[in-house]
Symmetry: C2
Subunit: 560 residues, 2 copies
C-alpha cells in the first residue's frame, strides 16, 4: 500500500457523473412531429458545464458517513459508489416465490373486461385499489390491462400510485407506452418517478420524449441526479455510453481485499442492490486500473491488495464505441458486464450483458418488422390513427411507385396480351413466385452476412451458388406451371412460354435476391430493409418482360 493514510479514507460519491472533463457537445435536432420525436433516436440538446472539480458535489450516503475519515475528499483513493442500480421490482418475490396456485394463476388471463374496472379506479383516483389490483396480476396481464387504458388514464394511473411502483410499471410497459404516459405527467411527479429508475432506464425514457418535456422533468430532479442523466444523454443511443449504467462499484487498486470486503459487509444493504458482478479498480485519477470479479474477491487471500488480484488489462469499451462494436465484444467475451471508459481512460460506467442482449433482440424484432413493411418505428394500435396511417403510407407510397414502374412493362405488350388473354392469369403468378424465390435468397444472404460467412464483396460466390439452386427450382416450378397452362388451354406453346418464363425468372430472382443484400450492405444501408422492395421490383420487371417477350416471339404458335 503506497499511501497509508489513503488506506483509511473511503470516499463515497453518490449519483455523481464522473465525466469531469468530457468535451461538451451540443446537438440540435429537428422534430418533425409530436410522435416522430417520441420515437426518434435523437439525444436531447443538452449543455453541460465543464466541471474541473467535482469533489464538493459528493453527498455521502447517510449510512456510510460514520466510516468516512476526516480527510474525505482529499487526495485519498476514492471508493466510488453510485446510486445503486435498482433491483428489478419483482426480485422481491424471491422471498415469496410463486406457490403452485399462484403459478397457475399467472397462466390464466384476466377477463377482458377487468381493465374497465381498472379504468374506473383511475377515474376515482383510488390508488390503493389500483395497486392492489395490478399487484395480483401476472406481468403479462398487467401489461395487457395497462395497454387497454386510454393514454390519459395510463398517465393518470402512473401519477396516482407510489413513485416506486410507477417506476416498476414503467419498466414493464412497452417503451413507447411508457414514454408517452411518462411525458404527460406533471414534471415534479415525473421527476419523482425518474429517480426510482436505474440510470440506463432514466436515459432511455428521456430519449423517447420531447426534449422540452425532458428538460422540464430534469429541472425538477435533484441537481446531481439530473447532471448524471444529462451526462448519459450526451451519448448517442447507439453507443456504449448511451447504453451503460452508471451504478458500479469502484475501489482504489491500492486497497486490500479485506478492506473492500469489510467495507461491503458494513454496508450490506446498499450493496445488496448492486447488479454488477465486478468490482472495478481505479487509480488515483479515476482511470480504470483493473477488474476484480466478485468470485476473485471471495477466493483471494484477504490480505492481498486489490492490485494483486485484479485483472490488470481488462476488456473495456470506449464510451463512444458504436453499438455494433459492443455486440462484437460481448460475442467475443463471456462477461456479464464490461467497464466503459472515456477517452482519457476514466471509468464512466458499465455495460451489462442483459442490456446488450435486450438491445440485440430489439434489433432482431425490428428487422422482422421491417421485412413486413413496418418501417420508421414501432407501431402499437394504441397510437393515434394519423401516426399509424401516415407511417404505413410512407412505406406503401414507395411501393406503389415501384409497382407501377414494374407493371408498366405489361402496358408495352398490350397487343400480345390482347391476342393471348390467358397470359394475364399467369403474370401475377410469375411475379409472386419469383418474389418468393428471391426472398429466400435474401434471407440466406442476410443470415450469412450476420454470421460472417460471407463478405459484401463476395457476390460472385453467392451468384454461383444461387444460380444452381435457382435453376433446379426454376425448372421444377416452371414445369408445374407449364403443365397447368398446357392442360388448361390445351396449348403446348402456352405451357412452354409460361414455364420457361417462370424458370428463367426464378434464376434471375435468386441471383438478385442473393446479391442485393451484399450490395446494400456495401453501400452502407440496412440490407434487411431495402433488399425486399429492390428485389421484387427487379423480378417483377424481369418476369413481365420475359413472359411477354417470349410470348410475343412465339405469338404465331400461341394463336394457332
Amino acid at each position: 500500500m503506497r499511501n497509508a493514510r489513503a488506506a483509511n479514507t473511503i470516499e463515497v460519491r453518490v449519483n455523481e457523473f464522473p465525466l469531469a472533463v468530457r468535451r461538451v457537445r451540443e446537438r440540435r435536432i429537428v422534430v418533425p412531429d409530436h410522435w416522430a420525436a417520441k420515437r426518434s433516436h435523437q439525444t436531447l440538446a443538452v449543455r453541460r458545464p465543464v466541471q474541473e472539480e467535482v469533489a464538493h458535489d459528493f453527498k455521502p450516503i447517510p449510512h456510510f458517513r460514520h466510516e468516512l475519515a476526516p480527510e474525505m475528499g482529499r487526495e485519498g483513493d476514492p471508493v466510488r459508489k453510485m446510486s445503486p442500480r435498482r433491483p428489478h421490482p419483482l426480485r422481491k418475490r424471491i422471498e415469496q416465490p410463486m406457490s403452485p396456485s399462484q403459478a397457475e394463476h399467472s397462466k390464466t388471463t384476466t377477463p377482458d373486461t377487468d381493465w374497465k374496472q381498472l379504468a374506473g379506479w383511475v377515474e376515482r383516483c383510488d390508488a390503493p385499489a389500483i395497486e392492489a389490483y395490478l399487484k395480483q396480476l401476472s406481468e403479462t396481464d398487467r401489461v395487457h390491462d395497462l395497454g387497454r387504458l386510454t393514454a390519459d388514464a395510463r398517465s393518470e394511473l402512473l401519477g396516482l400510485v407510489h413513485p416506486e411502483y410507477a417506476a416498476d410499471l414503467i419498466e414493464e410497459m412497452p417503451k413507447l407506452l411508457a414514454a408517452e404516459a411518462f411525458e404527460d405527467l406533471t414534471p415534479d411527479n415525473a421527476a419523482e418517478i425518474l429517480e426510482e429508475l436505474a440510470s440506463d432506464d432514466q436515459a432511455n425514457l428521456l430519449r423517447h420524449i420531447e426534449p422540452e418535456s425532458a428538460e422540464a422533468i430534469l429541472d425538477h430532479t435533484p441537481s446531481l441526479a439530473a447532471d448524471s442523466v444529462r451526462g448519459l444523454l450526451e451519448y448517442s443511443e447507439d453507443t456504449a455510453g448511451g447504453r451503460m449504467i452508471t451504478e458500479y462499484l469502484a475501489v482504489p487498486a491500492t486497497r486490500s481485499v479485506q478492506d473492500v470486503i469489510d467495507e461491503m459487509r458494513a454496508n450490506v444493504e446498499e450493496y445488496a442492490d448492486y447488479a454488477v458482478q465486478y468490482v472495478y479498480a481505479v487509480d488515483q485519477a479515476g482511470a480504470l486500473a483493473g477488474v476484480v470479479p466478485l468470485r476473485e474477491l471471495l477466493l483471494a487471500r484477504p490480505n492481498r491488495s486489490i492490485a494483486s488480484c485484479m485483472v490488470n488489462t481488462p476488456v473495456k469499451v470506449r464510451a463512444d464505441a458504436h453499438i455494433t462494436e459492443v455486440f462484437e465484444l460481448f460475442d467475443e467475451y463471456d462477461y456479464i458486464a464490461v467497464p466503459v471508459v472515456s477517452e482519457d481512460k476514466t471509468l464512466v460506467g458499465a455495460l451489462l450483458r442483459e442490456d446488450v442482449d435486450e438491445l440485440r433482440l430489439d434489433e432482431a424484432h425490428e428487422q422482422e418488422r421491417n421485412a413486413r413493411g413496418i418501417v420508421g418505428g414501432e407501431e402499437l394500435r394504441s397510437m393515434p390513427t394519423a401516426v399509424r396511417s401516415s407511417r404505413r403510407l410512407a412505406w406503401l407510397s414507395i411501393n406503389i411507385v415501384l409497382n407501377v414502374t414494374a407493371a408498366s412493362v405489361i402496358a408495352l405488350y398490350e397487343e400480345t396480351l390482347q391476342a393471348v388473354i390467358a397470359l394475364a392469369v399467369f403474370l401475377p403468378i410469375i411475379s409472386d413466385m419469383s418474389g418468393c424465390s428471391g426472398n429466400q435468397s435474401v434471407a440466406v444472404s442476410l443470415r450469412e452476412l450476420s454470421l460472417g460467412l460471407i463478405r459484401p464483396k463476395e457476390y460472385r460466390r453467392v451468384i454461383a451458388k444461387e444460380s444452381i439452386v435457382g435453376l433446379i427450382n426454376g425448372v421444377v416450378l416452371g414445369a408445374i406451371l407449364g403443365v397447368l397452362a398446357w392442360l388448361w388451354k390445351d396449348s403446348v406453346a402456352l405451357g412452354l412460354v409460361v414455364g420457361s418464363a417462370l424458370a428463367l425468372n426464378t434464376v434471375v430472382a435468386v441471383c438478385i435476391g442473393g446479391s442485393v443484400p451484399l450490395l446494400v450492405r456495401r453501400l452502407g444501408y440496412d440490407p434487411a430493409l431495402a433488399s425486399g422492395p429492390m428485389l421484387t421490383t427487379v423480378t417483377d420487371v424481369c418476369g413481365f418482360f420475359l413472359t411477354l417477350s417470349i410470348a410475343t416471339a412465339a405469338l404465331s404458335h400461341l394463336i394457332a
Copy 2:
C-alpha cells in the same frame, strides 16, 4: 450444525449426472434424410438405466483428494462439484487485451484468398501452421475462412488441431457447420473434443448429428461424462432441462459460510472456471434448499451457516418446463442464472441468462427467416445443393398452389379482360399493394401478441383499429392508382374501377392481416410462419375478384 461429523466431510462428485431416479424415457425418431436429421430438433433415442446408487461412480478431482475425509461417500453432506463449465476460449485474452494495432487488425478482414492457404495447410496436415494462422485472426475472419473450406477440410482441420482448440472453434462456428464437421470426425477424436465443451454445448452438438454417430462418440467418452450427456439428451431441446448446464456448485445448507469460502479458496483454480454466480444449497437428499448469490457469500459473516444466509424459497424452474415458460421467468426476474430441479425437487442443473438470451435471439432470427420463406431449418450456402433446393421447393410448392388458386379467379373474367385489356396491368399492382398493406398489419399483430398487448381472442379490437387505418390508406392509394389509370387511358371509369378496387381491397387486407396472426396463434401454430401465405392468398383472391367484378359491372362505361 446438526451433524458434527458431516461438517468435516466434503464429498466431491465429478461429472455425475444427479438424476438417479428419474423416469427413463425412450424416444423414437424418424430421420427423413441425412441433412434433415442434422437440423431436426429431435433428441436422441437414449436409454439410461435407473441408477439407485451413484456413489461408487464418484471420481474426486485429484487436487481435492487430500481434503476428503475418510468417511467420503458416506452419509456426509455432499459438496457437489461438476466438471467446470469451460470458460470461453477467448476469455484468456483478458491477460493480453487487444492492443490498438490488434484492434485495428480485427477490423480489417483477411484477403479473400487466405483461406486457400489454410486449405493447403489442412491438406499437408500442418497443425501448427493452422493454429498459428487461425489464432491471429479475429473471430469474424476465423468463421469466414473456416466457412470457405470444404466440409471435409473443415472436419479434417478439427481433427488436426489440439482438442481444446477444436472445441474453441466449434463454439465459434455456426452450429450447423460445427455439427457437420464434428460428425465426420473419428469417434475417439470427436469424444476428445466433446470433453472440452461445456455440458449444454455437448448436448446441443450431439442433438444436431445423427443418433448413431452420437452414440458412437459417447461410446468413446468416459462413462461418467457420457452418462451426463445422455442425461441431458433425454430432455427435449425446447425444455429447461434441454438447455441447462450441469456445471454448478452445490453445498449442504448446514455448512458455514467460512467452510464454503475456505473450500473454494483451497481450490481456486477449479472454481475459477465456474461461470455460475450462485452457490446452490441442497439438503441431504439433494433437493434444492436455497440459493446464495456469490455477493451474499462475500458479505455474510463467516460464521453464519449457509442456511441462514441463503434465499429460502428461490425462484427455480422444473427441468420439463417448456422454453416459453423459461423466457417468461427470465423476463420476470433479473437473475443471471436460475436453478433447474427435477420432479422430486432434486437440483439437476442451472439455466444461464446468456444461454436463454441467445436462444431467444435465435428464435427471433428464425422468425425473420420464416417471414422470407426459409422454412424447415437454417440454410447456409455450404450445404449440399439438393438440400437447399428441396427445402426451398417445399415452401415454394405450397406457394404455387396458393398462387394458382388465387389467379384462377382471373380466368373467370376472361371476357372482361378481353374487353378492357388495360386491367391486366393493374391486377399485379393491386395484388402486390394489398399484400404489402396486409403484411404491415401482420407485423403489428405479431408485435402486440409478443408484448402481451393483445390476446388471441381480441380480434374485434384489431379489426376495429385496422379498418380505420385501412380505409385512410386505401383511399389514398386508390386515389393515386385511379388517377394514374385515368391519365393513362383517359378513362375516368377505368380510374374509378381500379381505384375503388384497391381502396376496398386495402381495407380487406389490413383487417385480415391483423386478425390472421391471432387466429393462427389460437389454433396453436406459429403466426410468424403461417400468416404471410394465408394473407396473400386471401387478398389476391379478393383483389382479383373486386377489380374484375367491378369492371364487369361497369363494362359499358369502360368500353365506351
